[in-house]
Every structure is written in C-alpha cells, then in structure tokens.
C-alpha cells in the first residue's frame, strides 16, 4: 500500500520531458519533489506563474509571490508572471500538458467530484472546473476509499460534479487505474496489495485483464 508520498512518487513517473504541469493542492503538490531531475518540466500555478521553484529560504518569502495554495514560493530561471485571464487561456487552450488533482469521487466514466459536499462546507471549485474541462491529460491522486472505508471509485458520483468524463488515470494508495469506456482498468497494484483488495475497494466496474504487475516506485 502507498502513503501520500508514495502516490506522489508514482505520479511523478507520469511526468514527461517537456511537460507543463498544473498541480492541485494536497498530494499533487508533493509530485514536484519527485520528478526526475534529468528531464525538463515547468510547473504552472493558475494564480499566474509559470516556472515555479521551491519554497523560499527563511526570511526571503515575498507576499507578492505565491502559488494557488497561497503558499510563498520562488521562481526558476525562465519563469514568468501573468494575469488570471491569460493563466486560464493556457489551461483552456490546452497549452498545459498535464493536470494532477485530488478528488472526493471518480466515476467509471471519468466523471469527477471534488468541490462540494451538500449541506456541509462548500469551499468552491477554484480553478478545478476549468482544468478538468480543458486538460487532455488528467491524473487524479487520491486514497482509494474515504475515511469511512467507502470506495471513491464509483459507478456514478454521488456528489456534485466538477467535470464529466474527463479523468484519464487514477493513482491511489492501492494501485494505478485507467478510465476506459468499459470502466476502471487496473494497470498496476501498489506494493503488497492484492487484486482482491482492490476489487473490494472499487465500487465501479473494475477491469482486470492479464497479469497486473506490482508497481515499482
């Protein structure tokens, strides 16, 4: 089974040379730490920066330079700042190659829900609806089940949707799954996780064909 860092490490392997990547808040943010350093990647944050670097050294933080999680950041050589309309032009115009974000639920047809729990707190969708509606390559990073042990990979989302039929791949603590027209196709098992465990944690249609390798992280 993977922990959050394990999920981030596994997703980092999906990041290819030359990719512009938008990372959501939470596990996705961690991905930046594990991308191979022999490839060139630029991280975009939808509040208006391309070429994000690590957190600033203590005392060098600048209130005017933050990421979409409102964390103080730095920029790397080649970085640029821009306004919000331009930022979402990058996203909507498919210039960002990969979007990695968290989810509360994913359905077997690729629907995703991650912005609202009716009756409870509504924090808002932020940029997530724009990202999932536009990105060609969306990876969801999440736990396979919620705190109550219920599957988050469903036949149909129960929560208000963020986007329809958009998720391509899911990396959970239990494995890697691809969204196909027939449902969630299991690609890899997390270390030490059996197919039976994944089956019982997946409510939506699960496709297990051939040998499912245990992943190496």
């Amino acid at each position: 089974m993977l922990d959050k860092i394990g999920i981030a490490k596994r997703i980092a392997r999906e990041v290819k040379d030359g990719y512009y990547v938008n990372l959501g808040i939470g596990i996705p943010t961690l991905v930046a730490n594990y991308v191979r350093d022999d490839i060139s990647v630029e991280f975009q944050s939808e509040n208006g920066v391309l070429g994000m670097g690590p957190f600033p050294y203590e005392g060098e933080e600048d209130a005017d330079i933050i990421n979409a999680g409102k964390q103080t950041i730095t920029t790397l050589p080649g970085a640029s700042f821009f306004d919000s309309a331009t930022s979402f032009g990058m996203i909507r115009g498919k210039h960002v190659d990969l979007t990695i974000l968290g989810a509360m639920e994913v359905a077997e047809n690729g629907d995703i829900a991650n912005w609202k729990i009716p009756g409870k707190m509504v924090k808002g969708m932020g940029g997530a609806m724009d990202l999932v509606a536009s990105a060609e390559n969306i990876i969801v990073a999440m736990m396979h089940t919620n705190k109550k042990g219920e599957s988050k990979l469903l036949k149909k989302c129960s929560l208000p949707l963020t986007g329809v039929g958009c998720v391509k791949k899911i990396v959970t603590n239990l494995g890697v799954l691809e969204v196909t027209p027939k449902g969630f196709r299991l690609l890899e098992r997390a270390p030490g996780v059996s197919i039976e465990v994944i089956k019982s944690a997946t409510e939506g249609a699960l496709i297990v064909e051939g040998d499912i390798p245990e992943m190496t992280v």
Binding site: A63, I66, W115, K123, G124, A133, L161
Partner: protein, 233 residues
C-alpha cells in the same frame, strides 16, 4: 495626458453607494486593494455584491466587510479559510455564487473588452451550468457565460503613473488587470505613484484608459496566508 490622480482613498471612493456591485482584485490576500477595502469598511456601505476570487480571511481582506455584515452577495471561485464566511453562508445571511476561476477571470475580461458573452467548456455537466445555454463546438460541449456588470472595480498595482498606467508585481497581478475597465469606474491603488513619463510605455501592463482614478495607498500590510519556507541547511 489625461490625469487620473485623486488625493486619497476618500476621494477615490466618492460615489460608492449601498446595494452596488464591486469588483475587487486579488488572489487570497495577494494583491488585494487593502486601502479601498478599509475605506469601504469605514464608509459602512451595505448590501453590496462583491466579485472577488476569494473572500479574504476572518480578520483581513474581504473578511473585514463580512464581519460588519456589509456584503449581501459574493461571486467567487473559492471561499475557504474563513469561518465567519462559512457561518453567514450556512445561516443564509450571505448569498454565494460560485463560478469557475477561469470563467470568473473571463467574465471580467469580457466586460473590459466589450464582449457580451462567451462560450467556455468549464462547468459543463455540473450544477454551474444549470439553467445556462450549452452548445457543441468541434464535438465538445460549452456553456454560455455573460460579462459581469459592476459599478466600481477596485484594483491594486505595484507602480502607477498620473495617466493611470499600471504595472503589477509577481502573482499580485492575478485578477487585477482583468478587472481594469470592467466596471463603470475603475479605482487603482498603487504602492508607488509616479509622474507621467516615468514608466516605459513598453512595460505598462494596463494602459490608463482602463483606469478612472488612481492614488497611492497609505499603507500595505501584505499579509501572507501560508508562509512556507525551507531552511538553508
């Protein structure tokens, strides 16, 4: 050169009234018009609608207006990190219209640039699209969204000149340029107000034609929401 300078924040906000719709720049607490917000609190205008990506925190930014119950409605994309906001929303005191962030930015830009409406894929198939016109372009569904209408836009820039020209800094740029010229009156507050001719015409990010009033803010706290740092070792 058409002069846009006003003496201070009081003069800058002349004409602000109860029930108006305002646009406010900023992302979280980054790049917010701190001086305009303080003056709105002081003026005590009520029943206002605020178009702003976020709603501040409990004791800073738009949170200050929420505390005084001056806001009737928020139009935002993300409103977390604010307990008073949550309380007012859940109790029904505060009306909230959540809009995808890119749509929010473009509704501002559309108002600025004279586009009445635009089609975006964001929100299709979600409750955001309920009651809205949808349309297929190139095999993909889109939602028709309309330009905002507002009485005042309050924006914050880094440097500005007497002609209303603006330059922003870092990610404090965010929604600020998109809101310039997107309301009937755009009020820009700047950290440094310079004589016309001080800024290189090539480096100006918002031409003064989009700004009606400009003043130098008295004080900027520039509070950081998430101070994340690494140590040198």
């Amino acid at each position: 050169m058409i002069r846009k300078t006003v003496a201070n924040v009081k003069e800058a906000l002349l004409g602000v009234e109860d029930g108006m719709t305002f646009m406010l720049g900023g992302f979280g607490l980054c790049g917010i018009p701190e001086n305009a917000i303080s003056e709105l609190v002081r003026l005590g205008v009520k029943d206002i609608t605020c178009i702003s990506n976020n709603a501040g925190v409990d004791d800073f930014g738009l949170g200050l207006l929420l505390q005084k119950h001056q806001i009737k409605k928020m139009i935002s994309s993300y409103v977390g990190e604010n307990e008073e906001f949550e309380r007012q929303m859940l109790s029904g005191e505060l009306e909230v219209e959540l809009t995808p962030q890119g749509t929010l930015a473009e509704k501002c830009r559309a108002a600025q640039a004279g586009f009445p409406a635009f089609y975006t894929p964001a929100g299709y198939g979600t409750e955001v699209a309920e009651g809205k016109e949808t349309r297929n372009f190139n095999g993909k569904m889109h939602v028709l969204e309309h330009a905002f209408e507002a009485s005042f836009a309050f924006v914050k820039a880094w440097k500005g000149d007497e002609a209303g020209n603006l330059i922003f800094k870092g990610t404090a740029r965010n929604f600020n340029p998109c809101m310039c010229g997107a309301a009937k009156i755009t009020v820009a507050e700047v950290e440094e107000l310079l004589p016309a001719g001080s800024l290189d015409p090539n480096e100006i990010q918002i031409p003064g034609i989009f700004v009606q009033r400009i003043f130098q803010g008295e004080h900027y706290e520039k509070r950081i929401e998430q101070r994340t740092v690494r140590s040198r070792n």
